[in-house]
Symmetry: C2
Subunit: 535 residues, 2 copies
């Protein structure tokens, strides 16, 4: 299905104008500007998108789970039917290889179908019923029923590093749509064409499903004006963001400063500490070096779960040498855009210049001749626990294929490092059974610092499943109570609403005695799937 790119925002079922400031996709491997130009949305277009979203909300949030599931499945089909042109455009705009884009499309579509299953099944609403009792003494017991309901129009900010899976058709959009919220998406400036293709797939799925206009809109912004106006727009009731800490905290301030503050979910930077405990270091140095190198350099290090700190203790000479050798042999990669590549080069240069930090492997940057303007080389640094603990800036993420070995001389130093950690998405422990016993307290401590702890593995894969937690305490995210990946992401853009002493006919179907959807409910405190009484 060939699609002509127009460069215009998508405002409900209409298209935006062509008078705003221009931006263009850029091929990071050549620096070439890609056609067509994209046009920033105007404030009026933003207002239209937000108003249409609000107008669509009453009808959209009343759709049954089956109807919303069908919509999500239709989006997946439409994305698949875009075929290779979507992958080619995404690959060109991001520098990510076709194989990766194919994998990412697969993840995006299976994520859509995963949430479709969840809403079709329906129990996610956490329906609770406490049956009334008019005869209770000293006062009658009211009939109290409640469930999760959507917040209203949600603004979604696309991530640079996943042109599909965390962008227009990505996790935040899908979880918001699944739970009944219209979305207004802000495209990432790095991949406007991918955004338009995916955006039209969603827009068409909405119209093909007969949904009211405004369930989905897509805006472009060459600067920050529309981004900021979107977060402060009175019709917007929640925000999902994936990006840098600077961008995330700036928008978080805007969300908090609104006359009516709204839930704001930013997934920001993370250094994803890896602890290699003594037994594991002794028995598996070589395989951990190999696995860790893969995790550090995967996707040119551009994962939010990239391991940026590796803590060792005991004799780590073999491990460090193995890892250094692998890092030195890493081919030059192409980063997502010039800003990211420049920040990475600056980050590793600064780190290399620090006292008490040794550059174990820093591959020379490629020469300008024939090199990609966004080329990046892997880097490995090393320091000791004392230096790391004393300098909080060593916890700052350097987004890209580098990591920092931190050598702890004692068990206490390992714990001191863990105590000093700020909030992270993940922590990883490599250990033997004996290590686990000896370091049980380390797990308890890390639990308070991260959203996910991986044992004898690597943090870079984030499985889309019911139990996944892709979140973590601030500053890993702006709201450590939630996850942006996995089944629980559907809870983010919801709130509880309670109905007291309502007649059956006026209750949402999920709360009626008949339980026509057959969902699991908590009835008088007990989970059950059955109907209530003799209906």
């Amino acid at each position: 299905m060939p699609v002509d790119l127009t460069g215009q925002s998508i405002i409900g079922y209409r298209r935006g104008g062509k008078s705003g400031a221009e931006l263009r996709g850029i091929d990071p491997s050549t620096g070439e500007s890609l056609s067509p130009p994209y046009y920033s949305a105007s404030r009026a277009e933003l207002d239209d998108a937000a108003r249409l979203a609000a107008e669509s909300f009453p009808a959209y949030n009343r759709l049954s789970g089956k109807q919303r599931g069908a919509f999500l499945r239709r989006i997946a089909e439409n994305i698949e039917s875009l075929g290779d042109p979507l992958l080619e455009r995404s690959s060109r705009e991001s520098g990510l290889p076709m194989a990766r884009m194919k994998f990412e499309r697969g993840r995006t579509c299976s994520q859509l179908r995963f949430f479709a299953e969840i809403v079709e099944e329906g129990s996610w609403v956490d329906a609770r019923i406490d049956v009334g009792d008019a005869a209770r003494q000293p006062a009658p017991k009211p009939d109290v029923r409640s469930l999760r309901r959507p917040l209203g129009p949600v603004a979604i900010f696309c991530a640079s590093n996943f042109p599909l899976a965390f962008s227009v058709p990505g996790g935040d959009t899908v979880s918001a749509l699944a739970s009944g919220n219209p979305v207004v998406v802000l495209a990432h400036y790095s991949h406007p064409g991918s955004a338009e293709l995916a955006g039209m797939a969603i827009r068409n799925a909405a119209s093909e499903s007969g949904l009211p206009e405004g369930v989905f809109s897509l805006l472009y912004d060459a600067g920050q004006e529309i981004a900021q106006a979107l977060v402060s727009h009175p019709q917007i009731k929640g925000v999902g963001f994936t990006g840098s800490r600077r961008g995330g905290t700036a928008l978080m301030k805007i969300a908090n400063a609104r006359p009516t503050p709204i839930p704001f979910y930013a997934e920001m930077g993370s250094v994803n500490p890896v602890f290699i405990l003594p037994g594991a270091l002794q028995s598996r140095a070589e395989s951990i070096a190999k696995g860790l190198h893969g995790a550090v350099t995967l996707g040119v290090g551009q994962f939010c779960t990239n391991p940026g700190v590796v803590v060792t203790s005991g004799d780590d000479a073999l491990f460090a040498a193995q890892l250094a050798q692998r890092v030195s042999g890493t081919p030059v990669g192409v980063m997502l855009n010039r800003g990211i590549a420049t920040a990475y080069q600056r980050g590793i240069s600064e780190r290399a210049a620090r006292p008490n930090i040794s550059a174990r492997a820093v591959v020379a940057a490629p020469t300008a001749d024939g090199a990609s303007p966004c080329g990046a080389t892997a880097a490995l640094f090393a320091t000791d626990a004392k230096t790391w603990v004393a300098d909080h800036t060593l916890q700052d993420e350097i987004f890209g294929p580098s990591t920092l070995l931190v050598h702890a001389n004692t068990r206490d130093e390992i714990f001191e490092i863990a105590r000093q950690l700020e909030g992270n998405l993940t922590a990883t422990i490599h250990g033997t059974d004996d290590d686990l016993r000896d370091y049980a307290d380390l797990i308890s401590l890390l639990e308070t610092k991260v959203g996910r702890i991986i044992f004898n593995g690597y943090p870079t894969g984030v499985e889309v499943c019911h139990a996944m937690v892709h979140g973590g305490p601030f500053p890993a995210t702006s709201d450590g109570r939630s996850t942006s990946v996995g089944g629980r992401a559907i809870l983010r853009f919801t709130r509880f609403v309670c109905f007291q002493d309502f007649p059956q006919s006026a209750l949402p179907p999920e709360l009626q005695d008949a339980n026509s959807h057959g969902i699991w409910r908590l009835v008088d405190g007990k989970p059950m799937q059955s109907k209530i009484g003799s209906v």
Copy 2:
């Protein structure tokens, strides 16, 4: 069990000093200062309380649900064994009659036992398990397991209007303790003696249960310094507050401005709109007038669910007359303290002076001679929809026994009023079956504005049950995603933590295959209570 009041803060298992600024309980019906004087905690005492709380956290959060349940039950027993002296002191400090205090003690203790049941049963942690599959292609499926875990030390601010049920041993404290968080409570200046009695009951329950020091502390503050320092304290990981919008939003700003922002739950003011639809007005004017009068004047109007706006349409003359007559006949009540009584008198005086607002019943304030310094008389105002919609300040809560009738001339005006509503805890609809059909859209609209909708009843009772929602969009609360009453309150001070590829022995019991607690879990997306595999 007689308890000597000392006036000192409770810092873990120790007592605070007597050098801070003094405050005293005051009997609002006489103005008499009560003994002993209470002493503001020092910054050092606050630091001690927070540090002890943080130190107790690893051990406390590892207690089994049965152990935490036993602790909560012990608190209830200790409160009950304080006997009448607790009720007498609470009654004197609050002006609330003994019968009310007895009821409130009952509610407090049954709430403690309700949460004990929830943690003893254990399924509230939302344990989820996606079993790994090493043979999956193209990549092995990791074993992913997750559950809710507590945040860490939580600060609790007591409410003025419930010396027990929303104060030291109240809902916020109990839900935080139930989910595994140590608490540092700030006493309300209006009832320091009640706070000390209840605080010692909790402190003793902790020591009698062998809990680590710091699970509970209680601080006094004659000003705002300790309150503010508590919210910004680095060891504090969450806050629960019940009080005014001004106080709540001020502390919310402090929580957001921390280097590490934390979840902040404030339950603030609310006007709890009541919509009396045409059929109900025609058929039940008298009984609704009676019921509404009871709700408006219950507890001298000092409920957060007090109905402050009543919308009628059609011929409401009989209803308004009936209500006015009842309001006029309301005896003078004693409010909680002088500040609240003064604010109430100022609020109704200002409202009476407004153009386009008629005072249907404003009982003259009692003369100074022999009158209580905190006396309050009920008041009834009336206006039309146009006036109400045009003046947003008419949505401001006047805390006390008054309400405002708003007459809508048309169906559209009713909807316009609903659209203009800001976030509220509750909305109430009185209607016939026909009304409900005709106004189905009104329910949909109110759903977006409030946490609970009551049909043909009154909002003032808040049943403690699994399905209750006592929350609502800003500014009713600072975080409309949560509830401060009912089973779901246990979710507030928690976050999700995920364990990937962990050996069984290192997993929390709730996530082990054996499911030794027999809790309900989501295993590969299906709710089940059974163990996994052949263990």
